[in-house]
């Protein structure tokens, strides 16, 4: 019955994003408040921490797609040849299939021979779909359609908004951690009348630093888990849009069988792509619990297996 779940998914992701912002601001404010309370510096640290929170959220939400696009060397797609015209047609078709107007802007990574694509932009109106030139060359219409539908799902589900905020949150936790470590240096260590206090303060700061470290690690694991789950979900939504699992499955097979990394991709942008552009081993292993924890993408063979309704082991063998 769950046909056409985009609107639901979108609402849920927006709600979760607001929740993240609120949670984040409260936690940062609380950290500052506790420090102010201990050092009797009210209200400075509360304000500083709230400031950090505000800046993080603003930077995360206001930075347009241009940062990511220029970092991977993407250029706007010109409608030179038939392939390019075709891509633009496909995007227009699928935007209608998903009931989203206007269609996202199209970029490409010129001269890159690998097959890959990503979507960026926090709001649908400044969304961008970017493909490699290798994708234009290697994939036929049906396969391109599957990949584009996958990217459109990310845009419609507001996955970027949620993921960006989650990374900003982790960034802020890291800031707190550094802050606590630095602050320990400034705690007076004897002679003063706050002597009895300083030991307690050091323990507190150590606890904050330790907690922040644990949270940062935990945050990354959550971020990766969300990223993997979003990939599966976008695959499913792609099929919901195109009603054709064969196209995406065949595209993923071609991706799996085309070696090579995207030179311009980095760990900061890798999770955006439809398949890991860095080809890190962790993303292609059958893997136990621990390897899976740090993967940004589910292994291609499991994704193909889900689309084709076969067992992952079988696809794994076929691809070798």
């Amino acid at each position: 019955m769950a046909v056409f779940s985009f609107y639901e998914e979108q609402r849920r992701n927006i709600a979760k994003s607001y929740l993240l912002i609120i949670l984040f601001t409260v936690v940062m404010g609380a950290f500052g408040f506790i420090i102010d309370y201990l050092f009797e510096t009210m209200p400075w640290f509360t304000l500083i921490f709230l400031g950090i929170a505000l800046i993080q959220v603003l930077v995360a939400t206001l930075a347009g797609p241009s940062v990511v696009l220029s970092s991977v060397g993407a250029k706007p797609l010109e409608m030179g040849n038939l392939e390019q015209k075709q891509l633009s047609n496909i995007i227009q078709e699928l935007s209608i299939a998903g009931g989203m107007a206007p269609p996202p802007k199209i970029y490409h990574i010129p001269g890159d021979p690998t097959i890959n694509a990503f979507a960026t932009g926090l709001r649908p109106q400044d969304a961008v779909i970017c493909v490699t030139d290798g994708l234009l060359d290697a994939l036929d219409r049906e396969e391109t359609q599957g990949v584009v539908a996958h990217e459109l799902s990310h845009i419609q589900n507001r996955d970027m908004l949620y993921m960006t905020l989650l990374s900003a949150l982790i960034g802020a936790v890291v800031i707190v951690q550094l802050f606590a470590l630095r602050a320990m240096i400034f705690v007076p260590s004897g002679g003063s009348r706050r002597d009895s206090n300083s030991g307690g303060i050091i323990i507190f700061l150590l606890a904050v630093a330790g907690l922040a470290t644990v949270f940062a690690l935990f945050g990354r694991i959550v971020l990766f888990a969300v990223s993997r789950q979003r990939e599966y979900l976008a695959d499913a939504h792609s099929v919901e849009l195109t009603r054709n699992p064969a196209g995406l499955a065949s595209a993923l097979r071609k991706i799996a069988q085309t070696p090579g990394r995207i030179r311009t991709a980095s760990v900061a942008t890798a999770h955006l792509f439809i398949s890991d552009p860095l080809r890190r081993a962790v993303n292609e292993q059958e893997g136990g619990f621990f390897t899976n924890l740090f993967a940004t993408h589910p292994p291609l063979f499991s994704r193909i297996a889900r689309l084709e309704g076969k067992s992952p082991q079988q696809i794994h063998r076929e691809l070798e």
Binding site: F4, L82, N89, L94, G99, R243
Partner: protein, 186 residues
């Protein structure tokens, strides 16, 4: 006193739920109207494209006249159809005729190789997809709407404001029901 507050609270919740359901139905209805308008836009686009296609193909000597005539007739019928069932029927015939034309074109390798034909082919493929995707979106929206207004407790609100189930864009012809399988990949 407590009982009064509880009753008041329950009433407030019911009213909020009422408003939310009503607004939900209205926004779904708007989505359906918009989706229908989209289908119309795409169908017009296809009418405009057909003369170009015919002109390109006509130049080729002994191209099956029968197929061409079929397309031209089907287009005329579709343009002139006034009621929605007629329109759906005529569009089905046109889609079939176009597929026939494309199938015939497969037999003319030099025609197929021309840049002009390839571009037209892509345009046509694009239009066909736009039509079927806008129909898909329309039908999905209709299904969501129809399910919502039929399900308890939404059906109470729907009944009070006389929301009627919307009509699906059903495909007339059995062959049409199959997924488009014109294969000119790449």
């Amino acid at each position: 006193m407590v009982a009064v507050w509880i009753i008041l609270g329950v009433i407030v919740i019911i009213v909020i739920w009422f408003i939310a359901s009503y607004n939900g139905f209205i926004s779904l209805k708007k989505r359906i109207e918009n989706a229908w308008a989209q289908i119309d836009v795409q169908l017009k686009r296809r009418y405009d494209l057909i003369p170009n296609l015919i002109n390109t193909v006509k130049g080729y000597k002994d191209f099956e006249q029968e197929t061409l005539t079929k397309v031209i007739q089907a287009r005329a019928a579709a343009v002139n159809a006034t009621t929605i069932p007629d329109k759906i029927q005529a569009e089905g015939v046109l889609t079939q005729a176009l597929r026939g034309l494309l199938a015939v074109a497969e037999a003319y390798p030099d025609l197929k190789a021309t840049q002009e034909f390839m571009q037209l082919m892509e345009e046509l493929r694009n239009t066909e997809n736009l039509i079927s995707f806008s129909r898909q979106f329309y039908n999905d929206s209709v299904m969501t709407f129809n399910t919502r207004i039929a399900m308890f407790p939404g059906n109470i609100v729907a009944g009070m404001f006389a929301f009627k189930a919307a009509t699906f864009f059903e495909v007339a012809d059995a062959a049409e029901r199959q997924a488009p399988k014109v294969d000119f990949s790449k």
